[in-house]
């Protein structure tokens, strides 16, 4: 059922595109440029993934070991903001720091270092992707580390384990169990990254397949070509997940615990220094581009107009709807995964991400044209497609805890004849509360930051915040745009912080 809700639209959209184009266009795949782009995308996505996973893990460990410093929740929420900012805002934030006239470059120049132009190309892409993905990786890893049974840390303390042994025997198995799914997601995100790669890549070879699909679809309305390239991208997304899903085994969990989680290695001095260094360095890397958005504060008064307030309300309504639908579908799919179709659902969640939203709308429109005017669906369609885009994140967050809840109490629930709402309430809720809230907040934030998939083909006369941002930029209103970007970032930040506080994450 959930598989149909998710898989069917992708399939129908692909078929629709192919129908509109009168078939597929295999020649598109043989083009030298397309092949170069695939090679480059693979390389940059691989490097971006490795950086995000390694730094994300270090950050998660530091946050797990330093569980109670002041401002911890604020820091986590601030970093999380990076994951969901619109691409164009990410580009401008990175440039504000590392660009030719950026803060870092300017400071270096003042100190007598002339770096020349180094940002555009692979470095710029990697920096932007690290900026976007490290916080998400850290969030997911942190959740995993905090699921360690508290007894293990007491045993480790009792046995006198060194910090390295604790890492090896307590943390590493948990990080490893998360890594495959997370790596697939981040790889795919970087593989399809569009505005960021194009703007910071410096040249058309530093592009992604998504650019070629976009070009085929609207540059020349060559639907056969678009369908072929989209099919290739979906196939890559699916293939990747299948390989990784095949390589992962979920961690075997035992029952819950009566103790509070106190890490055995929290007071080792060298580790404390290391963690402080990790926290400071990652914060110095990720926070300043976000804080650079504060420059928009000077123009925040320009936002107090009826249009802006309407855009804000529309965005919030869309975000709420998206959060609800995405979480619901992710939950339904995670339930399906428990029932033994883990690979299928994992693959589906990612296949939707690999399907470019604009190709999705176009394909659905054409395929369903005899039945209904898809574009006239307006808000529900936007919510559904935004939810599909947020699905892999939500699914990643929900799948593992749900599986654990069922390992712990699944049989008990079965024996008691618990189903549906009761099972959710008594069996799953305690473990799922935090991931569900995080997933909802993330989906909401993603949909806030999305520039409106539907805008691509129109069909709506309402304006969201990101759309407003684009219109401002398109109309030279850089100052007002900076204020809008700040407002967006603030909203996303508040969502993230809200989810943290709501679930007591900040204090655990």
């Amino acid at each position: 059922m959930a598989a149909l809700a998710v898989g069917l639209p992708v399939l129908v959209a692909l078929m629709g595109l192919a129908m509109a184009g009168g078939g597929l266009d295999p020649a598109a795949l043989k083009q030298a440029h397309v092949q170069r782009v695939i090679v480059f995308s693979t390389v940059q996505a691989f490097l971006s993934t490795v950086i995000a996973l390694v730094v994300g893990a270090a950050l998660a460990l530091a946050l797990a070991r330093r569980a109670a410093f002041p401002g911890r929740a604020t820091l986590i929420a601030l970093l999380s903001t990076a994951t969901v900012l619109p691409g164009i805002v990410v580009v401008f934030s990175i440039v504000a720091l590392y660009g030719r006239s950026g803060f870092v470059t300017g400071t270096a120049r003042a100190l007598g270092f002339e770096w020349g132009s180094w940002l555009y190309g692979l470095p710029g892409i990697l920096i932007a992707h690290a900026f976007q993905n490290i916080p998400f990786a850290a969030r997911l890893y942190l959740h995993a580390l905090e699921r360690t049974p508290p007894e293990h840390h007491r045993l480790a303390a009792g046995l006198g384990m060194t910090p390295f042994a604790i890492f090896r025997h307590l943390d590493w198995p948990r990080l490893k169990a998360e890594t495959a799914g997370l790596a697939a997601l981040i790889f795919l995100l970087c593989f399809i990254s569009f505005a960021v790669v194009l703007a910071l890549g410096g040249g058309p070879n530093r592009a992604t397949l998504e650019v070629a699909i976009y070009d085929a679809l609207r540059g020349e309305a060559d639907f056969a070509r678009a369908a072929t390239l989209a099919l290739l991208q979906v196939a890559i997304g699916l293939g990747l997940t299948l390989i990784l899903a095949w390589r992962t085994a979920p961690i075997a969990e035992e029952a819950g615990s009566r103790y509070a989680l106190l890490r055995a290695d929290r007071s080792a001095l060298p580790l404390r220094l290391w963690d402080i260094a990790v926290l400071i360095i990652t914060a110095l890397f990720i926070a300043p581009p976000i804080l650079s958005l504060l420059s928009g504060a000077f123009f925040i008064t320009t936002l107090v107009t009826p249009d802006m307030i309407r855009a804000l309300m529309t965005s919030l309504a869309l975000a709420t709807g998206t959060a609800f639908v995405a979480t619901l579908i992710a939950y339904a799919m995670a339930r399906g995964a428990i029932a033994g179709r883990r690979v299928l659902y994992g693959g589906l969640a990612y296949a939707t991400l690999a399907m470019p939203p604009f190709a999705m709308v176009a394909g659905l429109y054409f395929a369903l044209r005899p039945l209904a005017n898809v574009m006239a669906l307006g808000i529900p369609l936007i919510i559904f497609i935004n939810a599909l885009m947020a699905l892999p994140f939500a699914y990643r967050l929900i799948e593992t805890p749900l599986a654990i809840a069922h390992q712990r109490h699944g049989r008990l629930a079965q024996s008691l004849g618990m189903t549906g709402r009761d099972r959710l309430r008594f069996v799953e809720w305690p473990l799922l509360r935090r991931p569900l809230f995080t997933a909802a907040a993330l989906a909401a934030a993603l949909s806030l930051g999305d520039f409106g998939v539907i805008a691509f083909f129109g069909g709506s006369d309402f304006v969201t915040l990101p759309l407003m941002l684009y219109q401002q930029l398109g109309a030279y209103r850089m100052d007002e745009a900076s204020a809008t970007a700040l407002l967006l970032a603030l909203l996303v930040f508040v969502f993230a912080l809200g989810a943290l506080k709501e679930t007591g994450h900040a204090h655990s």
Binding site: M1, Y120, A195, A372, Y476
Partner: protein
């Protein structure tokens, strides 16, 4: 129609629904129900549907003022359907084909004209081209210009003292200014610049691209990214329009942004509108086209769209346009040639700029 869709989906895709999925079913049904309720607006007045792009109808575009002005004189309702940009507008038209709801399409550009005509969707406009104030002849029988502009490189004269005086100088000066341009695959000015290079350099365009390549900071997805990067100081010049300085003069009261005149002439970007063949409001649609070329509409172009009016209004151009450069020559690749060569030119550009 939507109701039908609702039923079909629920009947065909949902037969396995069990109680645990009731909630989801409810949500989807509710979502579809909103879809039914939303777009219906019962009115006796005739309605004209205009497909356009979102920056035209948006807060900063001229769209809303134009809607009011037209509705005041037509006793009708003007409804915009706004797409992302000209490319999306065209893609949607091509997808919809004969079943399009558009009466008027406003916002295609000259580079798409031949492909748009090839769809056979547009009816002849009957406007006498001689009455237009374009820098070159426009003879397309179905698509009529409503505004236009010259592409140009913009620079900040307080930072760049000696801007290149020709495209050749820009391309061939090894230590010349750094520029940021748009990707021809994703952006209209980007495509225009590629055609500009092809028009000036002919077969030698790939070599020219190779020569220019080291000084191109980056190719962005759209105009906004490129212009933003330029204003943030990432490049000395940015590809935009000769009219860009008018914004800085009119709104920001800043005079330091200039367009660099190029000796070879400047590529022209022409924005077009047309009436669809399938419209049931033919008379109204034609009245809109006439309105579009009237002063009421045209006077909104210079400081609403920051483009030149297709027919200069009686009051002339605003003061902010007084000091804009006036290119010696206008360049435009004929639309049919763009249609035939676009793919090959893009591929050649890709190969030339690949590092």
């Amino acid at each position: 129609m939507v109701k039908l869709f609702n039923h079909v989906i629920l009947r065909t895709a949902w037969p396995f629904t069990r109680s645990r999925t009731m909630l989801m079913r409810f949500v989807l049904t509710a979502a579809l129900a909103i879809g039914i309720a939303a777009p219906v607006a019962a009115q006796d007045k005739p309605a004209l549907t205009v497909y356009t792009y979102s920056s035209f109808t948006g807060k900063y575009g001229p769209g809303q003022a134009i809607k009011q002005a037209f509705e005041a004189q037509c006793d009708c309702t003007l409804n915009y359907m706004a797409m992302d940009d000209a490319g999306s507008l065209f893609a949607r038209l091509k997808l919809e084909g004969e079943s399009t709801k558009a009466d008027v399409v406003l916002g295609l550009d000259a580079n798409l004209a031949a492909e748009a005509n090839a769809t056979g969707l547009f009816a002849p406009h009957g406007v006498d081209p001689k009455t237009l104030s374009l820098p070159l002849a426009w003879t397309d029988p179905t698509l009529v210009p409503f505004d236009w502009g010259y592409l140009a490189f913009i620079y900040d004269e307080t930072k760049l003292k000696n801007p290149p005086k020709s495209l050749k100088e820009l391309v061939e000066t090894a230590n010349g200014p750094k520029i940021v341009v748009q990707d021809p695959r994703t952006s209209a000015p980007g495509l225009g610049f590629m055609l500009w290079m092809a028009s000036v350099y002919g077969d030698k365009a790939p070599d020219a691209w190779k020569q220019l390549r080291p000084r191109i900071v980056t190719f962005t997805k759209g105009w906004s990214e490129a212009y933003g990067l330029f204003l943030k100081g990432e490049a000395d010049m940015v590809l935009s329009y000769t009219t860009s300085p008018a914004y800085h003069i009119a709104v920001e009261k800043k005079n330091q942004y200039k367009a660099a005149p190029f000796a070879e002439g400047h590529y022209v970007h022409i924005e077009l509108a047309g009436v669809t063949k399938v419209t049931k409001q033919k008379e109204l649609a034609n009245r809109f086209i006439a309105f579009m070329l009237s002063d009421a509409f045209q006077s909104k172009m210079p400081e609403g769209n920051f483009m030149y009016p297709a027919r200069t209004p009686a009051a002339g151009l605003p003061a902010s346009y007084a000091d804009l450069i006036k290119p010696s020559k206008a360049i435009l690749m004929p639309p049919a040639e763009v249609r035939d060569r676009r793919r090959a030119l893009v591929d050649a550009w890709l190969d030339a700029t690949a590092r």
